[in-house]
């Protein structure tokens, strides 16, 4: 996800959430995953392609993901899939994200209501 240092804190955890959510549908290899996230977010979010692998590996070390190597079209791909532990993590961060999202939505909506004439 390309971003400025200024919104780094705001975007923390978003790549993790998107990866877990996308892999909860089916197993994918790295390139496919990046494209799927790009497509599923209406082409608004494109993960930094090279940096997605360190994140996938870190998530695998935490046992949220599992991987397997498979040969396809004369090349070896590493497919990632969600584990039960990863599924629990996904549920947790989806719940956190929804809570935060509604809070921000409320705050922004509140500002708009205040600025509206009676």
């Amino acid at each position: 996800m390309k971003k400025d240092a200024g919104n780094a804190n705001l975007m923390n955890g978003v790549p993790e959430l998107l990866i877990l959510r996308t892999l909860s549908r089916r197993e994918m290899y790295g390139y496919e995953l990046v494209r799927a996230i790009h497509a599923s977010t209406g082409e608004k979010i494109l993960l930094s392609e090279g940096c997605v692998y360190p994140l996938l590996h870190a998530m695998e070390r935490k046992k949220w993901l599992a991987s397997r190597r498979a040969a396809a079209d004369g090349r070896t791909r590493v497919y990632y899939r969600l584990t039960p532990k990863g599924n629990q993590r996904l549920e947790k961060i989806v719940s956190q994200w929804n809570g935060m999202s509604s809070a921000i939505h409320l705050a922004l909506g509140g500002d708009r209501e205040q600025s509206m004439p009676a």
Binding site: G30, L47, S48, E49, G50, C51, L55, R75, V78
Partner: protein, 234 residues
Amino acid sequence: MNNPCRLENLAKRLRRAGAEEAYVQRLTEELSEHYREHVQSSIEEGAAEKEAEAVAAVALGSNEEIATEAVRRLRSGAWFGRHRVACLGLVALVLYPLSAVLLASIWVGLGTWLTRHGVSKMGAAAHVWKFALEASTDLVLPVAWFLGASWFCRRYLYGRGFSWALCGAVFAWAVDMSAWATLPMDQSEKGKVVVGLAVSLRPMLGAMRGSFLAGFLCVVIGSLMARRRMRPSI
């Protein structure tokens, strides 16, 4: 990523930061595969080969960006990486006394062996004792510390800059401390053992005090060195 130089540069950066070889291999293989997928996909969509390669290379990101992210993830995945201040103190408290005890046992053993073989009667044992004591405190002990701490940092903390900052500070401190770790020599049999133990214990006590100072210094220096390389990239 079909440019072997670029791939090799990335691998070098990761190795320098302390990443294990198996991890470096896996990451570079996956990046290489990703690059090929991207190029092929662009060509299938109608792009020229050169154009497709350029687009794929840009999308993948720079070596520095990838290496920074990989090292950051490795660090955050290890307890030692997350609790750097605590483990710096831990390194000092564990490794320094350990090396002191190890070396003390070597030269106490040497002295005992010389005494058993009657060398002390010739006066040579006193010189050997003195040499061993001074060598262990002034040279061997800090070197053992230096190597041990360096290995520890490379293995668990990731980052050569940070490791060298730690080891440099500790080395300077250990050399300085060893200067006063000399006691008057007692030439009696019992006295030699007492002096030997005292000389080994004094650095241990000093290590407890010095470790916190060394740890603090290293955190500051290491953080300054690492800050320009550590940028959020995802």
